[in-house]
Amino acid sequence: MGLLGVINLIPWSSSLSHREFSVTAPNAQTLGDSDTDLSIRATLFSSFRFMSTKAEKQLDSLPNADDNKVLDFPGGKVRFTPEMKFISESPEERAHCYRILDEEGQLIMGSNFVQVSEELAVKMYRDMVTLQTMDTIFYEAQRQGRISFYLTTIGEEAINIATAAALTIDDHVFPQYREPGVLLWRGFTLQEFANQCFGNRADYGKGRQMPIHYGSNKHNYFTVSSTIATQIPHAVGAAYSLKMDRKKACAVTYFGDGGTSEGDFHAALNFAAVMEAPVIFVCRNNGWAISTPTSDQFRSDGVVVRGRALHWSFEVNIATASDGSTQIPHAVGAAYSLKMDRKKACAVTYFGDGGTSDGVVVRGRAYGVRSIRVDGNDPLAIYGVVHAAREMSISENRPILIEALTYRVGHHSTSDDSTKYRLADEIEWWKMARDPVTRFRKWIESNGWWSSEAESQFRSSVRIQLLHAIQVAEKAEKPPATEMFTDVYDVPPSNLQEQEKLLKETIKRHPQDYPSDVPVPA
């Protein structure tokens, strides 16, 4: 694949004096001066605009363009045509998917990829196995009633570990909730995972959140928030911060196919492109958003872009955008109603340059974001793509969208039974025949870096460590009840102090009504 474009090393500056203008740079006062020539102001205005956010040239100049075939509306020059031609809603062929390891763990002929050392490959494999084992054991623990909730990453181990392997510890990670592998790679211990799931005193979250809502500032992994896609704009903000501080790092955020329907996804990609922010968007397109298959989620070719669906879901006759203009969803509702009534009419809605989008990998182009589709179960392909994306993102100050195709083998969470909406055979097939962990094992074994002895030894060792971690976490003390009132603000204000006092008094008066394993300091 290779890196695109020339690496742009022009440092940006935020003060006027470093720029060369054809006109003397005025100071702030004269800018508002009505005597200033309009054309000079226009030149200066457009120069200021991009002074501190430099990246590739915009596509607004057409070399060899005949002046009378070109229109220059705001937004740049565009050739006009007398032929009415609609841009097709879907491509002739779906966007291609990058993969270098086949199902048998053999390298595909003619593939170009980043070399991975034995040490790195073995660590990747071990972490994938650890993640898979941790998921199995913690899921069982929930079933046994030892923890209240759990959510697995089964089937998506390659995305979790391989993306993490290609990043550095300085890259800020904003997860959705199906990416504990990234934290594992960075050194979060099995005990630390167990502590969070049991909400004990050692949990960094102080027992306030549900299981799997990990967060660790020392691992640069921002605490999981249950809300879908809200972390995507956070990542753009973090990238903005890194850019301001000129750090050699990027922000990375993960989300599923379902998350791309949220308004935050749309706006975050748009912003990242406009602001030229060094952020990598990783979409785990695993086919399902709880019970909603991707064909009911969107109509574009996947998150990269997408293909036609054969399901019953209603087809909306107009393009919609999730840019926050409230009348647009209203129009979609009206169209749905017309369709139900079989009326020969459509709904029409108008909006400004907010911009519409169609697809997810192809949506990348709609926002001006470079994108790629990759086999999410091929760790080598993922490693290579993220490695390249990171280089591009940091050196060129640009966002990158990666759509990793995979399959959600597990249920959505312990509150879900996915056999209710999909075939058990389908799940079984993906679990046995398309397991990314097995695939990678075949490759490292073929290189002589792993063996079946190493396999059984490692698996049993991890299992023992996990069971031990659970035992320790289960027995550990819970955080004191007073932690309910701290960290709401930096310092507890008087109303919270009062409420804490009231709670302590109430527990003291009715101890039998309160759990005995939660310490209550005097």
């Binding site: 935020s14 800020h172 979250g205 102080k206 903000g237 912003f271």
Partner: protein, 307 residues
Amino acid sequence: MERDPTVCVMGEDVGHYGGSYKVTKGMAEKFGDLRVLDTPIAENSFTGMGIGAAMSGLRPIIEGMNMGFLLLAFNQISNNCGMLHYTSGGQFKIPVVIRGPGGVGRQLGAEHSQRLESYFQSIPGIQMVACSTPYNAKGLMKAAIRSENPVILFEHVLLYNLKERIPDEEYICSLEEAEMVRPGEHVTILTYSRMRYHVMQAAKTLVNKGYDPEVIDIRSLKPFDLHTIGNSVRKTHRVLIVEECMRTGGIGASLTAAITENFHDYLDAPIICLSSQDVPTPYAGTLEEWTVVQPAQIVTAVEKLCQ
């Protein structure tokens, strides 16, 4: 922004346009258009962006072009801004300032006349303050920027043209303190933002009629400064609240409850709360005027309280 390089501004038209009410005029030229960032029209998303930037070490000031637009940012403000410091176990802090013009203006229409303080007051983890004079606007803004907590600063559309001589040097106004505007003995009038001016106008009339009202600009909407308010109630025994929020679920409703709960024994009369009616703000000038509490109503209420 000069003192601290991590402070930045983001919002619609804050850059070269200088902001819808010119609050950020000249700043983009001075600090560059990365630090004074023009965002696309997606409130929930740029608020989210600000939260992410704050968690990574910046101190963003997020502007809602009109506070009403921040209703689109409710998800980020409630679920993330207010919560992430707590749910992360204190690992990540969110020192943002969310500010913008709100309140009833001059015929801006219902959608642009919202009183967001009503809707946001329940969110745990945020602080809310309302400025009302050039002096306290500067002080509160500086305090809000320096605070480690997320602070929502409510400005009022009709107060931007106020002129006042204020000190050039650095000063801050405490985020949790109310302001004593006019000490008095007969009645405690609690108000904030634009209503302060209606109250002061009514006060002139009241003084002529022989009353001595104590006027307090509560400034801190969350949490309430019950210390200052309590001292006043213990002195006058009568309370009148004058607010711009709707009757149902506004700041006045919460303040009434807090005072009754804490200072019940000191009250000689039930608390009177003057608010706007529970209607969307009409566009027609006369109707709009009738939805906002006017000085004459304030005078009548005080007379009733003091009978």
